[in-house]
Symmetry: C3
Subunit: 380 residues, 3 copies
């Protein structure tokens, strides 16, 4: 309809209002390691039956270098001196401390938050009008790391636009960039003149000028908007956002979703990011035990990102906004550039669950987790 | 059957006979920007209600560099001098002119055309005989860019072979390359001796020698043929082509296809290409409003290419020549090396629609679109 | 159940007992080129009607460099001197000899074999207990190429753990590495405390120490275990293995599988490998005509690997251990990092069938096939 409230399903913003308490929760989890699972029979740190047990004198700490068989061509199998073992342990402790520091900082506070649901600027004769201004600013992707970014409305990703199937939509784009631009509504079935491809469907929007797009939002689903002029550079720099068209006839599987989360993946000039931030500045998804979470994956980068959720499967329901003929399950979903995939997670397993790109160099270095890592937190 | 006419469905060749007029059409589109959509209420360039509007004095053209919040740690927010704005506009105009030049050149004329449907050289006792000669030549991938290419029958991709399910097929390969070769019919279910893997199923074909492959085309679908000897080099250099086995029992969704288009993606020694050419020398796909287009994607490269069509969804019907259990829709289809995907586009949205790889560095640079970009033109 | 026999379906180990004879078979195939298909009417080397035929004087061996049309801007079309042709032939022979040598060495013997089915170390009160020790050794990936590897139980991949749906499983991990580690059971639905993510669900396992994981194997399917600490390095170095949970209620399509083969793909510090070895040290899959083979693809690397089987389609039944709603066929299956795909091959086409990653630089160089290449051998 012409309703202007941002999102009919529990918006992530509402959920994130509780973030401070959650952050304390997460820190406690990190220290206690098993807070969430403590109610089960399997407490991770019980030293008697399982969990961490001291390893004798630590003589095994500096591992011997053996070959697969007991053959004589290997480089030798020196037993380490106790001093070597102590050095190895000190190095391990040093590395672990870096890893712990990252985890404990999560979710780390940074300046700026992208992908915020945007109410229409106004509604004129039933037309939902959105105003987007493209400009350049400094964006903090993780604590202390500021990069030059090209953004819509001073957000990276740009504001999340949500309309309803059948809505007439007007998007006024003002260009405050140092070069021309244009906006393509990726996945949205617009008339050709509204397709946003300079010199094919419109002139480029020169610096200081504006362009108005207008169309009826025909096809429900998870779509995107982004620059289509010098796009490898402009999208790489941050000119991108989510464009969600909500269905008027929700399927049963959509109706009981408690958390509707848009996850935009990127790997451009700002490094590996989820919704414009790298771990530990990424945002956890939070749900209560028994709730259903809808995740709308969108890849605005130039590499694949097979997203892996720990602890629970994902049920794939939509591809590029179109229903899959029959939903199917997975725990690792490959999201390629330009693709959108919608999944439902039935949060039946309590705890803090890692959620990351499984191209491991996008998620971890010897200094700890970074980049495309977040968590799904299922609260009891 | 044993019919030797190239293609039972409207061949792209026939469609391309109209190319000159289409080219004029496209140029007009590029200038007028909204020719196609002009019949709708949404004319892109109406300056009053929407479209390009001059932005005051242009003072906003050189954007201020701000941080996301009004914090004091950003690099400062200088108001640009009018001369700076003028410089920015001049730079934007310069970049836009390069982009426009590329678009207006499309489809650009180059020497040589690959992927042409090949009639059998002869039919002997009901056997369709095709002769392929592998040789080296200079190939023009875009206007003025000539590269050394290894090709079949002086085409890149090699000639498109189309036979019908159940046909007996003989392919005589003559090697005029500087090294040995062999042909693998990728996806075609041949007897082992016809599989084209040197030292496993046959000796390599030495320079100056020939080899004859013969088999019954059992499995309908979109397949390929390419070198399987020193293949990373030889296929990368261009020894590849489409091998289509048409079904005898077409599904309803196949029967009313007006345009059957083979799109071979590549990223080897010749850069990012579609059917052996880079934009603007790529070939548009042209259909009339209401027609159905079948696109047979084939990836002969070594990278993923998620192909994105603007304006209309693609209905995926086949993977590697095998029907998907239920067709499904998307607008961005990831095509991985060696894969073939068949889709149907119902051309219900008139206009010139960009159609490109969504790994944006495969499609655009600051100098304009290049590489894996083409268009689907839906004529009213 | 609590049965401890390694694998209920014909284990690859049993099949490989026949390897010596098969190796002889393969060598014979390589020499005779058409042994397998000889029973058909299509003998590859019949010189009269098809197959290798001498090419006149060989004058074509050094190919002329032509342009696509008879244009005058090409680099010239020198007829080669006979001596040039002879040189070209000599070079071709030299390259072919390298290729032949690789093929004839297949399957080449190397030290060490990974992915061996592991019986539980013991069963305690119905709990299947597995002990894994992580250590560093030298691993031979192909004949004469030894690399430093981080491994479980001195195998790369680590031992294949197979349990049955509903089993209670205990995995005791001892760390003999020079740094801390932790084990994540990728795809297995464990309680949070058993999820293996240091500082979120457990402390890291320090060098010389141990940690015990315990859970009920709830979800049948093809899963993995691997390090989740400094994982880009540790998994890249080899800390990975298969974790199969067999279903208690097998589907019809699963029940008549004769060979159940786990194929772990990797591209880390050890190059392009299948089950820890590069061609020609990879292991062929062997089946008899009419048998069904189940292949469980797992990608533990950081790149896509679209696996292409020659000669027969693959029917995809599972993604990440979850049944696809309807099985579907292909011949090239893209396996992304972290993904598992289960397929069934109906071995109805006898012969030695190449089976390789279709990112060709992962499979072949001018020196011959290497890396991610193996074969499916269908014996009559």
């Amino acid at each position: 309809m012409s309703s202007v409230k941002p999102s009919p399903v529990s918006p992530i913003d509402a959920v994130l209002d509780q973030l401070q308490s959650r952050r304390a929760f997460l820190r406690k989890s990190a220290v206690a390691a098993v807070t969430v699972g403590a109610g089960t029979a399997l407490a991770a740190c019980k030293p008697e039956s399982q969990g961490q047990t001291a390893g004798g004198t630590g003589a095994a700490a500096a591992p011997p270098l053996k070959s697969a068989n007991d053959s004589d061509h290997s480089g030798g199998t020196n037993s380490p001196h106790p001093s070597q073992a102590a050095t190895a342990r000190a190095k391990a402790d040093e590395m672990d401390a870096m890893h712990e520091k990252g985890i404990k900082a999560f979710p780390a506070k940074t300046e700026g938050k992208g992908n915020q649901v945007m109410a229409p600027t106004r509604v004129e004769n039933g037309v939902k009008v959105f105003e987007l201004t493209a400009s350049v600013l400094q964006w903090e992707t993780e604590p202390g790391k500021r990069v030059a970014a090209w953004v819509y409305n001073e957000q990276l990703p740009g504001p999340q636009i949500r309309v309803t199937e059948g809505d007439r939509v007007r998007v006024i784009v003002k260009n405050e960039l140092p070069e021309s631009t244009a906006v393509h509504f990726h996945g949205v079935l617009t008339p050709n003149a509204m397709d946003g491809v300079p010199f094919i469907t419109q002139p480029p929007i020169k610096p200081g000028e504006s362009f108005t797009y207008e169309f009826v939002a025909k096809n429900a689903g998870s779509h995107m908007y982004h620059s289509h002029h010098n796009a490898a550079v402009q999208v790489g720099n941050g000119l991108l956002g989510a464009f969600i068209i909500e269905s008027r006839r929700k399927r049963a599987i959509e109706r009981d979703v408690a958390v509707d989360y848009v996850m935009i993946l990127n790997d451009g000039a700002h490094g590996y990011t989820i919704n414009g931030k790298g771990f530990p500045a990424t945002e956890p998804i939070v749900a209560k035990l028994g709730q259903k979470v809808r995740i709308r994956f969108m890849n605005e980068g130039m590499m694949i990102h097979p997203m892996h959720l720990h602890g629970m499967p994902m049920t794939v329901i939509d591809k590029d906004g179109y229903p899959q003929p029959m939903p199917w399950k997975c725990d690792t979903l490959n999201v390629s550039p330009g693709e959108r995939w919608d999944v439902i997670v039935d949060c039946d397993n309590p705890g803090v669950w890692a959620f990351h790109c499984h191209v491991l160099p996008h998620a971890e270095t010897p200094h700890g987790m970074f980049g495309m890592v977040t968590a799904l937190i299922v609260e009891k």
